[in-house]
């Protein structure tokens, strides 16, 4: 091809009317709007993907966490029960301890009749608890906090009570220990 041919070819190719300013402005406006729409669609898509990935990650983490926790065998002893049985301990109700504390207080104050009633209530609670827990009647586990024992000024009780949790012993024994050798059976009868 000669240079002149190229020249005429190019001139013919661009011989049409140039686009009007109105048309150009309209195309620019429409294409810019499409540009913005596409941009927001991509932003929404990215956020959606990120959210889905976060949810998936949390789900996988939760499942992995659940699977890594050792499960107790079916029919076996639960870890809490196992530790309690190995320590020969049974939890007793707070009411029983409260009544024993009250009886001790009444004794210190010299209110014998009130002390007797408190011991009676404690005895009933202790027997009820031991029966419902499946132990032999009249036997419960003392769960007296060591701090309350140490705060006790009674030298007889301190000598008898254990430092932490008492092994299995009779309700009467517990009460006697708590009250400094007082036997509720003899009092209540």
């Amino acid at each position: 091809m000669k240079s002149r041919d190229i020249d005429s070819l190019l001139q013919d190719s661009f011989s049409g009317d140039p686009p009007t300013a109105a048309f150009r402005a309209r195309v620019l406006r429409d294409s810019t709007a499409a540009f913005q729409r596409a941009r927001w669609a991509r932003v929404r898509w990215h956020w959606g993907v990120a959210g889905a990935a976060a949810i998936l990650l949390m789900g996988v983490s939760f499942l992995v966490g659940r699977l890594t926790v050792p499960r107790s065998p079916i029919g076996g002893v639960a870890p809490a029960a196992q530790s309690a049985s190995t320590a020969h301990e049974v939890a007793v109700s707070d009411d029983l301890i409260a009544w024993l504390d009250a009886a001790r207080l009444f004794k210190q104050l010299g209110m014998e009749d009130r002390m007797a009633r408190a011991i009676e209530r404690a005895g009933k609670l202790g027997r009820h608890h031991s029966t419902s827990a499946g132990h032999a009647p009249g036997r419960v586990v003392a769960a007296i906090d060591a701090r309350s024992v140490e705060e006790d000024k009674n030298p007889v009780g301190l000598a008898i009570l254990p430092r932490l949790y008492e092994p299995i012993r009779s309700v009467d024994g517990i009460m006697a220990s708590s009250l400094g050798g007082h036997n509720d059976a003899s009092e209540s009868d």
Partner: protein, 179 residues
Amino acid sequence: MDGEAERFVIECARDGRQEAWRELFDWHFNAVHGFCLALTAGRQDLAEEVAQQVFVTAAGRIHRFRSEQGTFRLWLCGIARNRYLALEAKERRRKRHETRPGREDARSIGRGAPETLVHETLARLPLKYRRVLEDKYLKRLTMKEMAQVDGGSIEAIESLLRRARDRFAPIYESLRNEG
């Protein structure tokens, strides 16, 4: 405008910057409109419809543009060709309903091929050659104006124009032989 600058602007547009898109629009609108006129064999209404669809489509899909597969202008020309073919097919179907079978309007089919080849050749040229040819034939600038815009001498512009024509000829011939 060189290749690096265009790539940078395209990257900005892909990141969602509106002013980058406007820059690209300014660079390519007139030439793409000319290509659409060539495609439609001078039918102004159809050319405008195709040009509008080209830029709306390109704005929505600019994140799909891959510079390693060709120039941005060539990508726009590809969109224009596809949109034109779709509009042509739609128009043919409509006319087939309106007229008797076998009397298909042959006016638009196969027309405008040389002009289309010119635009496609330009789109394949390096930017500096494409720019100087478009300045002369599309914007119809004089040598003096081109030298002022470019910041060089008239002799340098003439030399650049000569080299651009030399690069244009073999690409045009190969495209015509392919067609």
